[in-house]
Amino acid sequence: MKRNEMKPVFQTSKFAALFSMLLTLCCLTVNNAWSALTIEIIGGAAMQIPVAIAPFAQEGALQQSITSIVSADLQRSGQFKLVDPAGISPLPFEPAQVRYPEWRGRGADALVIGSVVPAASGNYEIRFRLLDVLKQTQLAGFSYTVSASQFRVTAHKIADIIYEKLTGDVGIFNTKIAYIVKQGKKYELQVSDADGYAAQTVVTSYEPLLSPRWSADGNQLAYVSFERKKPVVFVQSLATGARHVLANFKGSNSSPAWMPDGRRLAVTLTKDGSSQIYLINPDGSGVARWTFSSAIDTEANFSPDGKWMLFTSDRGGGPQIYRMSSAGGDAQRVTFDGSYNVSPRFSPDGKSFVFIQRSGSQFHVAVQDLENGQVQVLTDTHQDESPSFAPNGKMVLYATEVNGRGILAAVSSDGRTKQRLSVQAGDVREPAWGPLLHN
């Protein structure tokens, strides 16, 4: 894929924040006639940025509409209010064609225009510009020369640029998620785009699969498989599909976690008695015990700077979350609300962590500030498991259950925007949001 920056037609000035107050809880719906995907979102940020996305010139001839993918991405974030371009005629494709008062009149603060033009060797040139409707200036403009198979990823990249320019945060639409699908007796570890499309099966098994964990570079997954009639940890390359056993010791082998530098992983082993956390090299060598309790120690997770490890332990009676230096040593308990706190995951800035908290008979996703200990429950679903942050820290992906079926759900880290995702048949579970892709 080739990307070129397009110079603004008008003088660019520094973009001022474009916010408009959303007075009521807003429900957005996009139905794409070209696929079975329905995106429905409940809630939204308190301040949503009104942005209009004009269908790109000639994209009607494509199998996939670029702008509908971009729109769906932006809507899922909950941070945008999409302004309907219907009725504006002719639609603008170039800056000179934009009649700004028309878009201003519809309440748009930003406008996306573009075109898809057939290029050499069966490729296409996708051009897009993000315009500031108030200042009548260009905020970003790029052209991509791509093959038809790259339309989706290009749309996600465009959505990332729009998101970054308008919110100031890193976009996460061009990232991957991993999860387990169970259909009947069949388990599949799948990796898809963050919007659930372009799913690829990494492993298929007729015994349980669980705990997929991304290496920091996004090239490998560690996971637990029961194919040897007990939990054994594997590491698999996504590029080649090659895999090897990471840990297959006497007893149970579970709960892998990569260190951010990729040089070691934590795993939970029972080879010396109770479930304890060990460090191990990615090739399965050099195993060393890292926690020393007679209780359960499991669910290790490392801080983004690699200095700290969070884990679940019932050394105090019930399961609670503890923190210790990655270099080893004593652990300090960090959760005190409630009798069951498990599955900790650091936020990308390392300042907080997301986890599962039991409340009565329900399990909710909660986030805790590591400095002041403040806890916020993010969800009102009932049987939540396996939370993980998006790599920009703005969303949390997790598994939950609706009507006895396993589904994936996401919630913004402020708890305001919620979405649910489900496959049409079967249970989906054990999601893990992958890292930012640098390509």
Partner: protein
């Protein structure tokens, strides 16, 4: 292999989304009726270890050795009194057959973290192993593993299934 996972995102009223699950302590009588009580008469009338000519005692439905499951209370790993005859019978068999090996598989119900449940299931298997060790079974005859909540015997989302799933199973090598 490439597949398209078609995801649908359902807008749901989060207030009326799904019925909550009640956590009930398991009725003790139900457990006894299902396993120990049914097994106990067999234990009283049948020797735990039979001669080879009378068939495989491990498969004989009238022999307590055919009973393989020790059930646990929610979030607990204590081997209850009612399952001690079962554990003792298998311990005797293993002592009499020093070359026989077993795997003790710990299981949990579906509630809570899958990874924590692997650790909890392990502890249940370990509790049965400890009881067998006390009765003289050698460590080398036993491996304890956990299947966590991944292999439920019953697959509903309420206590009637959960109580079946909180258990440790005795699995003889080759079975």
């Amino acid at each position: 292999m490439k597949k398209n996972l078609l995801l649908s995102v359902l807008m749901v009223s989060f207030l009326a989304a799904c019925a909550s699950h009640d956590v009930k302590e398991q009725p003790k009588a139900a457990v006894e009726d299902r396993t120990a009580a049914a097994a106990a008469p067999a234990a009283a009338t049948q020797p735990a270890v039979q001669s080879a000519t009378t068939g495989n005692p491990l498969k004989d439905p009238n022999n307590i050795l055919s009973k393989r499951s020790v059930y646990f209370d929610y979030d607990k790993d204590v081997v209850k009194e009612e399952f001690k005859p079962l554990v003792e019978a298998h311990a005797k068999y293993l002592q009499a057959h020093g070359d026989v090996k077993v795997t003790l598989q710990g299981n949990t119900d579906e509630r809570g973290s899958r990874e924590y449940n692997i650790a909890l299931g392990q502890r249940r298997a370990d509790a049965v192993k400890k009881a067998m060790n006390v009765l003289g079974v050698a460590d080398k005859q036993i491996e304890t593993v956990s299947l966590g909540e991944e292999k439920p015997r019953k697959d509903c989302h309420e206590e009637s299934c959960w109580q079946e799933n909180r258990r440790a199973d005795v699995v003889y090598q080759g079975e």
